[in-house]
Amino acid sequence: MWKKIRKYIIPLSICLILISTAVAGCAEEEPAPAPAPAPSPAPEPEPEPAPAPEPEPEPEPAGPTKNSIVIGASRPLSGPNAPIGDAAFGPIMQMWQERVNAEGGIYVEEYGKKLPVEYIIYDDATDVGTMVRLTEKLILEDEVDILFSACGTAFISAQAPVANKYGMVLLTAEGGATIMRDALYGLPYVFISLPFSDHYQLPVFAEMAAAKGAKTAYIITIADLHGVEYGGVAAIEFPKYGIEVIANKSVPITYTDFSLLVKDAKAADPDLFCVFAYPPIIMPVTGEMMAIGFNPPAVLMGPGANFGFYGISFGGDPMTINGVTCFAAANEKTSPEFAQLYADLEALVGWPNLDWWGHPYYAPLVQIWQEAIEVTGTLDQDVLRDYIASNQFDTILGNTYFEMFGEFGGGLMVKDTHPGEIGQWQDGTVEIVGGGDWPGVVLTSDWVYPKPDWPTP
């Protein structure tokens, strides 16, 4: 019997699954259960594979007839970065495409009509080399009009020079680091949106904590660019406000058992406990803290604590993590626009996995693109670049613009645009509790210091 099964079942099942996935891949759009508002006009995720076979390396559209604005992105749809790629910038892009197309597209003057948005997404499988190649494919082969950002600090660090080389405007999303700011002087086409470490996050936090009387900090970082970045900047910024860094420990990216480290931190009895790492680390650390009852006055975690899933991961009740501090810019209370954004995102994703740090900065990116195209009336990258570099935009954040680095450099979204820097989990949502003293800031609650106790099980 088994012989027959072997002979027929294996090839049959392989063929069946291959065919079904291929069919599904062609027919279905996105696995996410999106309650599509209107009959979406172009649900095809991949249009013709090679729309323009003629070897024209220049991304100049030039032709008088153009039927769509092509947007391209190389995103981690599989591999370790997929969770972030799926949850952060991804839904914003998808929502925008649907909304724009429901209105018939974006009006582009040089073509004299509204052009719908066509969206090409590739899977870089969380490999930098693949991401770079696919980015080049988007630029050269698919001749995209808008290049959307890759996901992860290392990835945008690699994508920025490449996009810049081809003269493609790149508004980056998930990630940012001081090395990128240093490089910005030579990257005129690159605009960084997400705030990072010394870009007002840690200084603001240190000032807040010092005002409450915090004196010591215990830091755990992940052993990659993100961890080195935040650990290093904290070691510089905290002492400026009289906070002593009593430990700065780094853990490998795949490490999962934190019992001993958390105990070590508990024994050190710090005022601030900072974990600069991703969810696979911050979540077990949080669990361990609850288990052994380590409850320092302030707990700062990220990225990951700024995501909705963090809140509902500990026994399903977001109240469990009351008082945990994270990086966050805006929430539902910041403005009605944000309330709408979060409601839309939740409806699209299907569960309350909101990102209070990233979404406030990714949502304006698509607005900036749209405004730049509508006002300049062109898809020419140089014109668009100059427009974005020299104008202020009215976005969900309010007045939004970039600080330009040098005469021939790229931009970094200025602090005055930030509605907040530091968030805290309070009663099931992230309240914005800290920002610098600049005009855009909208705090939605006071910082609870010391942090309330973990609930007793």
Partner: protein, 292 residues
């Protein structure tokens, strides 16, 4: 003085508990490699499947994770059993020699890893998911440990001992042991080799599934999480001697304790230390601690 004792307790018991987790992860792989000769790169994917199933059963259906053990284990067993009966038997019968089979099965499991991850991506999406269960402290003579860790160690020991008795005492267990030593002779002696191998692979998959159920209480889940556990399991089974269940168990405990000691000194070197010790051991004693 008492503080240093507590620290030693923390390191020692912490290491033991961590070792329990590792042992649980490694025993299944040891069985699959030791008897069925399949170095299963997709082992971690079974852990991932077990963990995700538990997540869904617990958060959606509301089934207690400990009861999930009884659901996930048999299902994983059946999947493993069928895989061995179909895919790996096919590879085994068509391979010209055992070495070629080891190579081709290794690569097949690499493909399987992609397939299982791909399926998980379709079912659960790429997001992180997590829940916690039994996450409260238990005081062991001054050192506090979370309860779910103790439960995991308990199950690791329980499953290990039960399986050891099964191997030593039952007829089927003897068949498995003789197949592990010499498949040809075993089949000559009337052991249905195909069934024994399928059972072993099934048991291995079931153990991975159970490890996933238990471990899901502690860690966030995502479809790409499996490979790191496969790698740790490979280190352990080489440490313990390929194919030795007690070796895998003790190897897991040793690695756990080493891990905690290194973490105590410098956590950033913990993984490097695993690999360093592992490679050193390979050079000094290539057959592992318990290998023959």
């Amino acid at each position: 003085m008492p503080e240093s004792i507590v620290t030693i307790m923390d390191v020692a018991i912490g290491g033991l508990l961590l070792g329990g987790i590792y042992a649980l992860i490694a025993m299944g792989l040891s069985l699959q490699y030791g008897v069925a000769r399949v170095l299963n790169i997709s082992h971690g994917e079974f852990i991932m499947l077990g963990a995700f199933s538990t997540f869904t059963l617990y958060t959606v259906v509301g089934i207690n994770p400990l009861i999930c053990l009884a659901i996930v284990g048999p299902i994983a067993f059946i999947i493993g059993f069928l895989l061995q009966r179909t895919l790996f038997t096919q590879l085994r019968t068509s391979a010209p020699n055992p070495g070629a089979f080891e190579a081709s099965s290794l690569l097949a499991t690499f493909g399987l890893m992609y397939v299982i991850q791909g399926i998980a991506l379709q079912i659960w999406g790429a997001d992180y998911r997590a829940y916690t269960y039994l996450n409260f402290g238990v005081d062991l003579g001054g050192a506090i440990f979370s309860a779910n860790k103790l439960v995991i160690l308990g199950f690791a020991i329980g499953i290990g001992v039960a399986f050891y008795i099964f191997l030593a005492r039952t007829h089927m267990g003897k068949g498995i042991r003789s197949a592990a030593q010499d498949p040809t002779t075993a089949s000559l002696m009337g052991v249905n080799i195909n069934r024994v191998l399928a059972l072993c692979f099934g048991f291995g998959a079931a153990m991975a599934g159970l490890a996933g159920v238990l471990y899901s209480m502690r860690i966030p889940l995502n479809p790409a999480m499996g490979l790191q556990y496969t790698l740790i399991a490979i280190i352990i089974i080489v440490l313990g001697g390929l194919g030795s269940i007690p070796g895998a168990f003790i190897g897991g405990l040793i690695l756990g304790i080493i891990g905690e000691i290194v973490t105590y000194i410098d956590p950033s070197l913990s993984l490097a230390a695993y690999y360093f010790i592992f490679m050193l051991l390979l050079l000094v004693r290539p057959k592992g601690i318990f290998g023959k």
